[in-house]
Amino acid sequence: MAKIKLSERKVEELKEVCKSFNNEKGELINVLHKAQSIFGYLPAEIQEVIAKELNCSVAHVYGVVTFYSFFTMLPKGQHPISICLGTACYVRGAEKVLEEFKRVLKIQVGETTADGKFSLSCLRCVGACGLAPVVLVGEKVYGRVSPDGVKDIVAEYQG
């Protein structure tokens, strides 16, 4: 497992989060939620800090992190790409769009490109079915995306 270095400032922030929950073991899930919103993901190092602060075993923290699909130990890319696979998008060819993203970025769903720029995930309906198929890059919404348009979307962020 590759070790990462956490900045002291962020660790202090994390310790403050633990403190705000009175360093209680029972608040582990809440602490993990906050931690993921600070760091974007929950690498081993973060889990170790949390275990120490809440006085529980690292194995237990890891057990909780791996149980809930919301938590992730992989860093998201600088530009997280989400493809909607809700019913409307799906019937209008979202799967082909997804395949094209995988091909262009050379990663699978849940992975991040080696340069850390892009990560790929799927979601179910963003409430913009009229624009199906829909793709999100960060907060920006792209509608009526076709496989041919994938390259252009990626290019926008390559600069």
Binding site: M1, S57, A59
Partner: protein
Amino acid sequence: MEMVKLTIDGKPVEVEKDTTILKAAKTIGIDIPTLCYFQLKDMNIENRPGGCRICVVEVAGRRNLAPACSTNVAKDMVVNTHSIRVLNARRTVLELILSDHPAECLTCAKSGCCELQTMAQQLGVREIPYQGEQSTYRKDTSPAIIRDVDKCIMCRRCEMMCNEVQTVGALSAVNRGFMAVVAPAFEMNLEKSPCTYCGQCVSVCPTGALTEVDHSRNVINSLADPTKTVVVQTAPAVRAALGEEFGLAPGTLVTGKMVAALRRLGFNYVFDTDFAADLTIMEEGSELLDRLTRYLKGDKDVKLPILTSCCPGWVNFFEHNFPDLMDVPSTAKSPQQMFGPIAKEYFGKKLGIDRKNMIVVSIMPCLAKKYECQRDEFKVDGDPDVNYSLSTRELAHLIKSANIDFNSLPDEDFDNPLGASTGAAVIFANTGGVIEAACRTAYELYTGKKLEHVEFKELRGLENIRHATIDFDGLPINIGIAHGLGNARKLLEDVQAGKSQFHAIEIMACPGGCIGGGGQPFHHGDSEIIKQRAAAIYREDEGKPIRKSHENPFIIELYKEFLGKPLGEKSHHLLHTHYFDKSQGTFVEE
């Protein structure tokens, strides 16, 4: 206490409210089959995740079957524990568990004492109708314990032992659904985790998912090598449990038969770890007195309480969790590791045997001993003081595989000089025993008077944490005792906080002490077995002509001829050790 009346299998029963159906049934002799459920009565140890569903029963008026282990009784409840619906459901549950379990019973280390296998027999499973994908996971071999989680049925007993009882926190259920396994943090190998190798996970695992690293092959090869002199030492707890593997009642002492069996297996010298336990008392007891005397003279630097250091699981525990207290435990090696250098550097040299040509084997109730004998500080030029450590179970297998009829063996005596021991050494097997043995010697050395009553009954028992004050002729000595690492943690936190009132603390990692060790025959949750073993140990002590370590004539001889005096230069070199900080460093940049 409020009582509740109900009917189980047509029989009326009255139990306290908040009793489970499982326990209520037991009071009238009905044994509902269980798999994930586990209990060690009187020791505060219980596992009931309600996960396996083997214990389901039919409760009149309920649509679904209820798990008996985690359903409380209610007034006028009518329970049927063996209706056709219940029997069918149980078998289906078991067939589903077996559909994701490797059918390796012929070669599995746990075969014959596997609770899953027994359950399959009991419920009459003859085929597994469900075919599907089986979960697979890599095997993890550590210096003492093998994890083969393909055989795990997620009963989570090991997790309970590791976290709730031992507070070690090495294991946790991770991932979910089909991918779920019990594993260390980040699914690293056990060796990288804070595991102490106490082996309590192994002792409660119902299947072959957790087993010990088997050293029998190495021992057989050594016995077959004509250039090697093979010496064996047997820990005190082994003699009180080995008989169980041969159908004898728990608590049967088999010291003489064990010696005879080891001789027939071809060991050149059959010695006793008890001899080294007497030696431990000489060193550890002297250290206690030394620290105590200096403390009483007003030396502020002296560390009290002194902690016993015989238990390798406990040593691992404080190296991982209390690195700031590393100068508190006694520096005396464990009896196993005292025996090694005495065998190789004293006995071997006397016979003119080079240490490389001497193989020292230990028979231990313990799995942490396997790790302990591999520690680098216990080697000379790569040659370990103790070469191999076998568990009580491995010794039983070895005896069976050599077709030795154990029960008809005559009683034989240990060889001398390293086979002679006192009653004080025998009680090392029980919680409270090491400190009782130390008191027998320390009292006489400190007061210069003869101790009339050698038994300190106030130090005995099975309560998790015990304390007593022993009168050293006007000087009150406060003693603390803990068995189980979770209990040890509590005493240690007091020491850390400067709140401890004790002069000496004895700690053993396993519930009950070594008699309940991770290498002992499986007790399957019957705490009565552990009590019987403890009683047997005290009987063995009572029957010994000498019951104080410092009166062992061979120990006196050893000091005269070789070691000099306790805590002397030679003792320091051969019989004492130091500890290492193994607390995991943080990844965080300072």
